[in-house]
Symmetry: D3
Subunit: 132 residues, 6 copies
Amino acid sequence: MATVKLVDESAASPRVKAIYDDIKATKKIDRVPNFWRGLAAHPEHLELVWSRAKAIMKPGALDLVVKEMLALAVSITNSCKYCINSHTAAAQKLGMTPEQHGELLAVVGLYNQLNKLADALQVEPDLLPKVE
Amino acid sequence: MATVKLVDESAASPRVKAIYDDIKATKKIDRVPNFWRGLAAHPEHLELVWSRAKAIMKPGALDLVVKEMLALAVSITNSCKYCINSHTAAAQKLGMTPEQHGELLAVVGLYNQLNKLADALQVEPDLLPKVE
Amino acid sequence: MATVKLVDESAASPRVKAIYDDIKATKKIDRVPNFWRGLAAHPEHLELVWSRAKAIMKPGALDLVVKEMLALAVSITNSCKYCINSHTAAAQKLGMTPEQHGELLAVVGLYNQLNKLADALQVEPDLLPKVE
Amino acid sequence: MATVKLVDESAASPRVKAIYDDIKATKKIDRVPNFWRGLAAHPEHLELVWSRAKAIMKPGALDLVVKEMLALAVSITNSCKYCINSHTAAAQKLGMTPEQHGELLAVVGLYNQLNKLADALQVEPDLLPKVE
Amino acid sequence: MATVKLVDESAASPRVKAIYDDIKATKKIDRVPNFWRGLAAHPEHLELVWSRAKAIMKPGALDLVVKEMLALAVSITNSCKYCINSHTAAAQKLGMTPEQHGELLAVVGLYNQLNKLADALQVEPDLLPKVE
Amino acid sequence: MATVKLVDESAASPRVKAIYDDIKATKKIDRVPNFWRGLAAHPEHLELVWSRAKAIMKPGALDLVVKEMLALAVSITNSCKYCINSHTAAAQKLGMTPEQHGELLAVVGLYNQLNKLADALQVEPDLLPKVE
């Protein structure tokens, strides 16, 4: 059960309604996902989060499907059930194939292992990045 | 200070030496990174980890640079200093541009925030993935 | 399904019963929450945990509602579903308003993002704390 | 060593310089912290992050010192060294006393323990929050 | 709902079927657990993961029940519901008593607390391990 | 640099001094580790933490070396540098061999990977534990 009252589209204030319309148009979906309906309990916060998410999740130097795969990798590493579900769906909608999904899972699993081994060994960094 | 004794290339047993050579050839590097030198304290484990890492980190349905960027997203989410350093360097070597790096950081930051907000709101999943 | 057998109030040993009574009196609640009923499978551990929790969660230099909000911030960051639920309820009972809840969510979301960006950038601390 | 080139105040573009000035004025500090100098490698991202952080970290329904203490609780739970350092300093500057610091540490430690015990027991939520 | 299509034993390809048979024989169970049925959506990954898990989870310098208890400690710390469930069951099957389970929970809870306090205090390591 | 002032043994109040003596006697060490010297900035908290740690970290249904190995598994999973260092040392002092250390690392690495894969697949628990 949600910890806040989800705001229905029919009950939204004009300010929230405008953001809901933008979410649906931007994401090409028919219904406002529960996440955004929960954030709408606090409209100012909804606006801050949505405007930034929209600015970041557009095609740029990285393709949108790559951005969704990065979001999925983060969500798996954080064990966020809602997010794993929605980013798996979103990446598939943008063209992630079953083979790509399988490879993503393999990479994400591998580095969750290797990250902890590196911490356990307490080895010093040795491949210095060239600074941009 | 490392929690195990790092195995120098000059002191490696033939079994470890063969893996070291494969690591350097596969990654096109001159020196065996500290991480693998630490794992070599337990040669059977080194072999299990390296053989799987090699099998996963080759070009496939996903490009190698995308795989490195996924590894970087996982490493940032896990706050693994050694790993952030080495995957930033590896992705740059494979062609990640400063603009792509900036967008990756923005996406990874955004979803570390949104993951926690979704957990805080305890909203139910609503975008069911089409199953493969 | 719980991984231990929850101990019902009616079936509790005198030692456990005394702790149950203290939990209900201290928290001003009618029923022993599932968490404590699960810990009661191991009475010595129940006693250690409850006595320390009671000593820490009393008004002091910080108000109790602030302590509950800190507990909620920790629980969200750890993605603990049971704990998010119970600390949201407890903070509301102690007077946390919807506006305060909204601001808490905004702060917790923000710093889950900024924490990871700071790790990704690997910048050195520069604001030394004055030591107490 | 940072994974991006930190942007010095003297070398900042007008767009970055304006944000730097706003950071210093808002936080009442003389020098731009390394975190923001690292983000400045990607000015659009710097702008998105700073504008939102500024909007959230102002006094509101919660006092600013409480917001800094929540930020510190999040940073400790995420083990972010840079962030623990800077939020400890910021909360002290805003008036957090040694006694309050000690109680904050006790609460944060306690719930990192209890969160994991609740997960380990897999008990169901039983204190439903009143929805706002 | 799973994010991949679970592969039924009756529908498994010969390659997957052979791994399923090995899983059941090795673990002395009648049915292939959902985790492995989900991995089977990508047979090459299933093979990599299973072969390594089998190599690691055999009696060696550590007893198998100790290895399962370590796996449970990791799973609790990661808050992985599926894993907490299955490793609790597996350790019990291998002989973990209720008293041992209670002590394991106490140790795991304690160090999730102390880990965060050590990070919060930012104290330097002082008990250098003797290197192997 | 520590975020609190470490309390030297020579400067400790009688209350803190008594705990310091108990720590050294219990752990059979000559010097009070930095962790406890940092907690001593808040004596009441020091007392709560130490008394519980002492009660839990004694031989019981589990050997002390197994408890230290569980503490190390937790500390690696949490990436706590100070704690990885001190629990590696403590487990070695109690008899953990290099072979056991290697197997512990392999198990901890493996389940950090498998935990995340289980989360990513979102499979339902299927091995119900027998309840104690």
